[in-house]
Chain length 134, copies 4
């Protein structure tokens, strides 16, 4: 499950730069089809990148097979992402408990400016439990 990127990450073009010990760095090279009506990167792709990065960071501190669906994602948009630029998400686990976890994320543009920040909370579920109901 954690051996490689998900179909969604592959389709969107999210690349894992580093992962381990509760930290993850993921990148997304933005493309014209990600444009919103203001000709900047649609905020939804920034949310998607942040969600992926925080989920990866969280997975890196849990035993194999333990699932960790997010039940909460919060993104603060600070500066727009430019089409064509490579966005970088740096995610870190803040809390990893028996039942819940929490991570936060910084999203940076190619010039290092802060594009967005994000937080996510996760349910931590043993391998045998039913994921379909939180």
């Amino acid at each position: 499950m954690r051996q490689g990127p998900s179909p969604a990450q592959r389709w969107i073009g999210i690349e894992v730069r580093s992962l381990g010990g509760g930290e993850a760095v993921l990148e997304l090279c933005t493309r014209p089809e990600m444009q919103n009506s203001a000709e900047m990167v649609h905020g939804g792709f920034i949310a998607l990148l942040a969600d992926s990065a925080m989920g990866s960071a969280m997975g890196s501190v849990l035993p194999e097979g333990v699932r960790h669906p997010s039940f909460d994602l919060k993104v603060n948009f600070i500066a727009p992402g430019r089409i064509g630029e490579r966005l970088r998400a740096v995610a870190k686990v803040i809390h990893s408990g028996r039942r819940t976890g929490m991570a936060e994320c910084r999203l940076l543009g190619e010039d290092g400016r802060l594009v967005a920040t994000a937080t996510a909370t996760f349910a931590v579920l043993p391998p045998t439990s039913d994921q379909n109901e939180a």
Copy 2:
């Protein structure tokens, strides 16, 4: 700018079902390439759909040319989205002020179950101001 869907909405396959008077209904028919590692819809697409729906709802109450970048997106994931199912986002403006606006959204599965809820806040910017800095 508000005459049609953005490139991002077209690429992802988001369809506007109804729009006007501060309310918007958008749908997304989910596909295998939107799968996360748990074989459900990646939460990022749910965030993207919610962001689009709330932005559309907000735009419907503002004069032509007034921009409304979101600076905050919060999604609560309640039940996973299934690959292949059509997700429906119903967004409504809660507040539309001189400088800021706020909307909320329900996301439903094909069987009517509640998949997620979301809120967003927006900056309301006159046509001439600079969008690159919030």
Copy 3:
């Protein structure tokens, strides 16, 4: 535990107007000592009222003895609260699952204007488990 208001609710002066079936209406009569530096109601008291109302609503759908600590509180401030006015919080459970729950809340001024909205997520814990670690 749920028979009456908590010490915090009594101290602040929060009154339960109605409670049951996943809904709660709580009121707070604001006082001069709740003033912020702009001479309006400090947002913290609005957060406190919202948290209380959503916690009460959540408790009303759970069996006796089941604890439900919140792990997430989000407040959107829309209009300032005026010192001396009675604020009303109307909270409703949106989701009540085996492990988590979610509620939302509207906060209204005496004239019915929307002062704030809020959401909260809860862990649902059986009576015997340890509350000190989420």
Copy 4:
């Protein structure tokens, strides 16, 4: 306006430990009247402390007279606060723009454990504008 604590801070017993350059450290010595029904610190006081700390941090980077009402407060509760313990909020400005600002906060118990994290966004308003409508 920024010369001293607000009436709300004085009443609750919030003390400013340090303030300047976009950072603020505030403390709250919790008391029995802040107890929730689980006999821990009511989450509302943690929200109140976080809101105060982030507002103070934000104010420290703005010119005298510029108001900065928060329109968004998000708190993630990680470990309960114990009655009688001194809680410490460490807040930092993440973004300070022409129209909006953003801060984040860590809340720590006396033993250094992470009790909560929080973020807030602010409207930045010139001295003459009307604060009653965002």
